[in-house]
Amino acid sequence: MRAATLAIFFVFACVGCREAGKTVVFTGEAMGTSYRIKCAGGKGFDTGAIDVLCDQLDEELSTWRDDSWVSRFNAAPAATRFVMPEHVEELLKLSKAITEETHGRFDPTAGALVKLWGFGAWKNEWTGEPSDGEVSAALEASGFGNLQIDGHQIMKSSSQLMLDFSGIAKGYAVDQMAGLLREDGYRDFVIEFGGEVFASGAAPGKDHWTISGPAQGSRLQLRNEAAASSGSEHQHRGMWSHVIDPRNGRPIRVGPPVTVRARTCARADALATATLVKAAEPSKRPRTEER
């Protein structure tokens, strides 16, 4: 009897030891795409916290649902005062800095132009190529200059101004997921969410995580760094990409995808969009940028 009890304890002890050196993978779906987290060393992780986070981000940032904070803000008339949720406030601050840094190639206030060209959440509203006058009007309504931010409150000076965080939201979500994992004691993990990646620490037995890029055979080695790609292969209309150049209000031409590495995934995500715009400019075609 005593021997049997000892044997059972031995089995469970062995199983426990196996956990320490292995990699565990968590997967799930959120914000219309899927995520995959690979952690070195392993104890359990409650993916419910990630689901809660993603639901919250969706409720605040999604342009695909009418009841999100962003959709309500977009539909509101000019001069309506809104209190910004925490994530929106943080994203706007981050986005504004990147808009300045990229000389306007990335601009989340250009949602009216995305709608005008029938991309993203407005793809079913496409009725045909907009006129020059419509483009000019949407262009004029866009830009951080048309937003007034006062503490936690925000209002727009043009009713046509629309926010669209789709170029940064997933990257931001990855950074938030990384925060949750760190709070849970993980140091070595890699998160992939809709093609955006953040790698913390390194894979077991290595000093980095290995990431495959969109170009065939391309490899990135990341450690405490993010990578994001932007491309038009999945979203385009003929030769026109779903990415709009916020400076002239017109879609860029479809070209090869670009990958950007940065300290945070939100930054990499936004810079990837800006780099795709830059790549479409004549005589410039960067493929991988390190920022």
Partner: protein, 325 residues
């Protein structure tokens, strides 16, 4: 009778233990499952006989006093605790289950949607169908007829892709290939991506599981399509898709492809589908081969040197039917 039950229980239980350990540590096998179920039923029958034959003993213990009752209460308590740990997936049950083959290789295991099914009507025929969730009617059906006289049916995967080449759903994958990247294929241990390289590469791109274990994650522009055929089978959505079938026969070497085991490369057959309107039939056409596909999913279009592999399939017919409201 008592000896029959005792020895029957011993051997039945031993078989149950062995098949249970195999089911826990090895890839899914119909044979192991069958053995486990049969001996599970036999053990249950023998245990019932054993309990019935010892009714007086059990009745005595239950109606007994002092130590007997305390022992039974302790056993019931331990039993309840174990059931609670198992139901809640708590330590150490969670760790124990996590050590099983299924948990360790979850990402490599491919299961079709519950709405997809297949039928092996004869050795040379496969019928693969995909129903829709809403109407429950078959919206997509594929008939595969291999050449008569084949000693072994070739390995096969059936999947659907978007028109830009992203996998939507795997509808069928041979059972021997479905439970991990290291497989035993027709008696030889090998890797799944060497048998059906094109399917495996497409699967890598959507699952993020690299067959060599070198890649930890993928960065790419955000996919916008749904990983479910539902949207694509709805005529109102106006979506188009491609159905793909990859087949590969073992040991079909020739003068161009001399590897004695892998021989000629896998072949990819495709058909472009546009659901909507009336029922439509289409023949899948030979599109590419997987000779170079193991090196990153490249499709090869030069069929020079491929001979018997092109004669593996007699007919590949796909039917796309309007969904019933």
């Amino acid at each position: 009778m008592r000896h029959w039950v005792n020895f029957g229980l011993l051997f039945s239980f031993l078989t149950l233990v062995v098949s249970g350990v195999m089911a826990f540590t090895l890839p899914f096998s119909l044979v192991t499952t069958r053995v486990h179920i049969v001996f599970g039923l036999l053990t249950m029958l023998l245990v019932i006989l054993h309990v019935v034959s010892r009714t007086r003993y059990f009745a005595g213990k239950v109606s007994g006093k002092g130590a007997s009752r305390a022992m039974i209460a302790g056993i019931v308590l331990a039993w309840c605790g174990l059931v609670a740990l198992a139901l809640g997936g708590l330590w150490p049950i969670r760790q124990l289950v996590g050590a099983g083959y299924e948990a360790r290789n979850r990402a490599e295991i491919v299961r079709s949607s519950p709405l997809a099914g297949f039928l092996e009507t004869e050795d040379t025929r496969r019928f693969v169908a995909r129903k829709t969730e809403e109407s429950g009617s078959t919206a997509l059906a594929l008939l595969v007829r291999f050449r008569d006289g084949l000693e072994q049916a070739p390995a096969m995967a059936v999947w659907t892709e978007t028109t830009t080449g992203t996998m939507i759903e795997t509808l069928y994958l041979d059972e021997v290939l479905a439970y991990g990247d290291e497989v035993e294929w027709q008696g030889v241990k090998t890797l799944r991506h060497k048998i059906l390289p094109i399917w495996r590469h497409r699967y890598t791109m959507v699952s993020g599981v690299d067959p060599n274990g070198e890649i930890d994650a993928f960065t790419a522009s955000t996919p916008t399509h749904s990983f479910s055929l539902e949207k694509y089978l709805d005529p109102a959505e106006g979506e188009e898709l491609v159905i793909c079938v990859e087949v590969n026969a073992a040991a079909d070497a020739n003068t161009t492809f001399g590897d004695p085991w892998f021989g000629q490369p896998s072949l990819l057959y495709t058909a472009y589908l546009s659901p909507g309107g009336e029922a439509a039939y289409g023949l899948l056409e030979l599109t590419a081969h997987g000779g170079e596909a193991a090196k990153g999913g490249t499709l090869a279009y030069d069929f020079e040197g491929i001979d018997s592999a092109k004669r593996l399939i007699d007919l590949l017919l796909v039917k796309i039917a309007p969904t019933e409201e």
